[in-house]
Symmetry: C2
Amino acid sequence: MIIEKLAVVGVGLIGGSFALALKQAGAVREVLGVGRSPARLAVARELGLIDRAVDWAEAGQADCILLALPVGETEAVLNSLAPHLKPGAIVTDAGSTKRNVVEAARAALGARCADFVPGHPVAGSEQCGPAAARADLFRGKRVVLTPQTDTRADTLATVRLLWETAGAQVELLDVAQHDRVFAAVSHLPHLAAYALVDDLAQRPDCDTFFRFAASGFRDFTRIAGSSPEMWRDIALANREAVLAELDAYLAALQGLRNAVAADDAGALLDIFSRARAARERWMKQQDS
Amino acid sequence: MIIEKLAVVGVGLIGGSFALALKQAGAVREVLGVGRSPARLAVARELGLIDRAVDWAEAGQADCILLALPVGETEAVLNSLAPHLKPGAIVTDAGSTKRNVVEAARAALGARCADFVPGHPVAGSEQCGPAAARADLFRGKRVVLTPQTDTRADTLATVRLLWETAGAQVELLDVAQHDRVFAAVSHLPHLAAYALVDDLAQRPDCDTFFRFAASGFRDFTRIAGSSPEMWRDIALANREAVLAELDAYLAALQGLRNAVAADDAGALLDIFSRARAARERWMKQQDS
């Protein structure tokens, strides 16, 4: 047992999987669920993700509270929770952006920010909701924590231990570096996939295009099946870094366009060969 | 038995899988292989994809000859083959672009183009080479044929029957429509995936980025593991349509950029929601 009571705000894929993993590991005695939708909470309870649904006052009495919701809701949720937090209660989150979450925590929690640990499990799926939760979702996956200079060491240690108990490999990053890295390897690909599908979907003869789309298209656009609300929040929460990555990507595509327009076979072969080699190196590191 | 002798020029994933499927179905008596690399031909023979390696003169005596190679090599290969073609020999190809293949066939074969059937199996993988060949590669996949007004009806019927015997679903398209549709749903995604990986790979701190790349990135960039030579040829062979798609995609991404820069949550939600809905409709059609 690491903690007695865990409260999860947002009982979807991430919150539900975290709860399930810790329950199965015997790391928590009781899991409380908070959410706007009574129906989702009922499903989460039926699936055994949470023991019961509670209000903000009761959630504040938990030993650890995980926020697992679209990052745009962080500040409002922390404001609802703040008046009820028991002394020493640990708060952490699972948002894909960290600068805005840290700002929200400072605004809502003030000095109690010392017990707030910003976190980002690098796991997920285009599926969402409590029914998608799995106890092994985080097994072997990275979880990035971005502690601040005033984060209490034992609070950080507890959050790290909870994620490790859920099977994850915990890494620490600076907030700005986190947001820059994930803008490139996660946020941009999501925007790029949404843009491609929407561009086709808007065409009058889109059925002909979709009719011949095959496995390459399916994999390239898988992440365009992700939650629109979640990704709207991420794109805006990480706006500066996302804009920088969009500009870099637009420039890279423009470079490719120039090479195609100029019939520059050598330039195309260079770009494609470098990309394939880099991806192969990456895949090998993933396997090891 | 549909034909006695099949010759495959290019004994890689596509050519090898076609040969294997037809042999297993008992649709051909003998498969001849032609290629530049004696080592690859030896592997193809060991794997049972071909019965023996032959030269252009002998390949021309086959009843049907499939070209399965980078589209940029089509005209040179047809020029090598043309003097040796026996009367009535059927020639077909498996290239991802069709206008340039038809032009190459007209130039190399002249009036014998009546026995040439341009084709495009919509199947494949980022893997290539004879070792990747599988008898079931085309099962349930589409194969597009783009016959010309002078294509002989019985030649077309034979090529259709061969692909159907390999398990594919054959569809006919006009050449220009083929090239426009595949520029959008296949060629552009490949360029977009290569561009993203190369943009990251060029950065001095690329290791940090790749370190945190996860499953979304992996699937989005899977096609950046494809053959650089093959995709260089495709991008240039289908240049006009590819440029049009690159421009449409650049405009779509610029629209997304504007929405992010303007903090326009509504516009982002609209784009993401439309894309997700369109992709879900497409996935349902694929399943049915």
